[in-house]
């Protein structure tokens, strides 16, 4: 039962566009998408842009909680 529900949640989130690309991750943390080889190639070519910026690093250092 629990497993089914978790699967539903996972499928729902993935269908909603979460998790596939890690786009926001690239923006917020400079992290490259973990799963998709194609996306990773794209990320690598833009590596300088996706590097964790000073700004974002500071943001995490001063993070509120």
């Amino acid at each position: 039962m629990k497993t089914t529900k978790s699967t539903d949640r996972r499928n729902f989130l993935l269908a909603a566009g979460l998790g596939g690309a890690g786009v926001a991750a690239a923006v917020v943390t400079g992290r490259k998408p973990a799963s998709k080889p194609k996306e990773e190639a794209v990320a690598a070519s833009k590596e300088a842009k996706y590097r964790e910026s000073e700004h974002i690093r500071k943001y995490y250092e001063t993070t509120k909680v």
Partner: protein
């Protein structure tokens, strides 16, 4: 609920849960202060989300808007929307939307629930019920951080239902409708789309 013990290891977070945390982080960042040039550039160069969901559409719109926006304009807009003492067009405090009363003010309740989850609100300039602070708390609950692992889904849902859900929808609707909003209308659309996903997904587990 006991304080979270230091058993949290670096177990890989499922991609969709990590993505939730990232959206919370991004929204918290954009609502905490105006984006600077570097952040606008990063968003402008980010790729599209897969699919044709409301979220994917809102994301693409924000990406496009970010390439047309500069940091001075963003700063002015942020100030026009949220600035000023008590007279801003759009309140950025959850208490404004969820019905604040002197006793049991949302800030007090947020503080109490954060403590129960083993989190401490540390900002002296940003009250507990600042929307950015609430989103940042959700980021930590979803992905871990600040020396702890991800919270159980049930804990996440409880915090979300108590503090985020009663206010965030009205907040984004108010922001989207504010005449001062231009870039932040896109931020509001992204926030609303993401929030809708959160509301629905919490009902699935």
């Amino acid at each position: 609920m006991a304080a979270v013990a230091a058993v949290a290891m670096h177990r890989a977070l499922p991609a969709e849960e990590a993505a939730r945390a990232d959206f919370y982080a991004l929204l918290a960042r954009l609502l905490g202060s105006a984006p600077d040039g570097a952040l606008l550039q990063m968003i402008a160069h980010a790729g599209p989300l897969a699919g044709h969901s409301e979220l994917a559409l809102a994301w693409r719109t924000l990406v496009d808007a970010s390439s047309a926006m500069d940091e001075n304009a963003a700063g002015d807009e942020y100030q026009a929307l949220f600035g000023g003492l008590g007279k801003s067009p759009v309140s950025i405090y959850a208490g404004h939307y969820s019905g604040a009363v002197a006793v049991g003010h949302p800030r007090i309740r947020v503080q109490r629930d954060l403590e129960a989850l083993g989190l401490a609100h540390r900002s002296t300039t940003q009250p507990e019920d600042h929307i950015a602070a609430l989103f940042d708390a959700m980021r930590v609950l979803a992905a871990g951080g600040a020396g702890r692992g991800p919270a159980k889904l049930e804990e996440q849902r409880r915090f979300f239902d108590a503090h985020v859900k009663p206010a965030a929808g009205k907040f984004f609707a108010t922001l989207a409708g504010a005449k001062e909003a231009n870039y932040y209308r896109r931020v509001a659309a992204l926030g609303a789309a993401f929030l809708a996903i959160e509301v629905e997904s919490f009902q699935l587990d």
